[in-house]
Amino acid sequence: MDDNDFDPIEDTLGVADRLAAEALIVDVDGFEGPLDLLLSLSRTQKVDLRKISVLDLARQYLGFVQQAKALRIELAADYLVMAAWLAYLKSRLLLPPDPAEDGPSGEELAAHLAFQLERLQAMRDVAARLMARDRLGRDFFARGQVQTVERVRKVRYTATLLDLMQGYARLRTRDEFRPFVMDRDSVYTMEEALGRMRGLLGFAGQWTDIAAWLPDGWDADPVKWRSATAATFAASLELVKEGHAEIRQSETFAPIELRKRDGRE
């Protein structure tokens, strides 16, 4: 940390800084989290990341958050957590160290943040170098033709790790997990309910609790009861929408009742 970091007039941002911060604000969605934003801000210091002024960086970040608030831009929680932490770091850097306090010093925390930024930048640089390498199928090529040779049929059985793990998961979570198979025998569909109710609706001149419309044998098992109730309710609404029936409920949690609509009105 050099002397500049202890500049007392910390809130006076230059015009250029202000413009830069505003430019960033427009772009807030483009950042992948606070660390990414800090890395972008640090570029304006145009120095080696190892010599970066974390105090300046904290000021810029806090300025950014201030402006975002002023412009009523919603910031995700992790941006605010970072702001709180940087405000804390800033105070640690500005105040003389408290000998009674344990834990890492402000300088150590700042150094670690600088390390994180440098490491993220390094990963981005090598990622770019990696993607710029000569690549198979673009710059160099495998043999273009699959060799046709006499077929000696020999079956080799194989499986992937994923097969193995899913097989195991299927066994161990049989109660809550079954891949790909929709468990039809305990599902009562709305189409089934509708078919059944259309047939029976002619006999429903009186208000009847829709619970009475459940198919036989579907009210004992709670799982089946739940599915049948949902399907019957949905089918009832459909019938009302079509104008074939009327539905009513006297109060919250009271029975829902249904009757045929026969053109009396």
Binding site: V155, L164, G167
Partner: protein, 212 residues
């Protein structure tokens, strides 16, 4: 190719040979001299490059052969026997075998009775034999329980195939789910028999003692 190209000298013959070699190697089918003329820089002589290349591969394990009016690289016919192993047909293991294998991998050493308890169905002899033959499982030491049953464990061949250092490296259920590798669609309660789509389900209804 524009006419300007002719202002430049064609690449040296050794370079043209390299180009023809690379094109023949990477092409899915035989390549005609005309094709080569279009792909190589202006002024090249692919016919001559081909002849030089053909001479260079004389007596090697790979040859330049003429196929109709086109050219291709082929393995030398006298080495055909080396290629026979290339033509193995790979088939997916049956679900029964995968499940049995998974139980052995996650619970080894495990007895046949324990496998059956976990799967809830009896394990056919064929399944175990198949896994033994593939050298993915082998007999482990006997259990110190009445009857001293044999156990099964996975082999080094198994670990190599699945790229594992150790059977303990198999990810747990939580990790599988976290990696998005399980379709964890919740089912509507567990009805006995709902899983009966199994190929060797002689004894459903075995209570699932190992469910936890």
């Amino acid at each position: 190719m524009t006419d300007n190209d002719s202002l430049f000298a064609a690449p040296p013959m050794a370079e043209q040979e390299r180009m023809v070699e690379a094109v023949l190697f990477a092409s899915a089918g035989p390549v005609t001299v005309r094709d080569l003329e279009q792909r190589l820089p202006h002024g090249c002589d692919p016919a001559e490059a081909l002849m030089n290349l053909r001479a260079r591969y004389e007596g090697r394990g790979v040859r330049i052969v003429r196929v109709g009016d086109a050219w291709a690289m082929r393995t030398a016919p006298d080495l055909g026997w080396l290629m026979q192993k290339e033509t193995v047909e790979t088939r997916k293991l049956s679900r029964a075998a995968i499940e049995t294998l998974a139980i052995i991998a996650y619970h080894q050493p495990v007895t046949r009775a324990e496998i059956e308890e976990i799967r809830g169905v009896s394990v056919s002899r064929g399944t175990v034999d198949q896994l033994l033959e593939m050298e993915w499982i082998r007999f482990g030491r006997r259990k110190m329980t009445p009857g001293r049953p044999v156990t099964f464990v996975v082999t080094q061949v198994f670990l190599d195939h699945f790229g594992l250092e150790n059977a303990r490296d198999l990810p747990g259920l939580k990790e599988l789910r976290a990696a998005g590798l399980l379709e964890s669609r919740p089912a509507f309660g567990a009805l006995p028999g709902a899983t009966a789509a199994d190929d060797e389900d002689e004894a459903p209804g075995q209570s699932e003692l190992f469910e936890d």
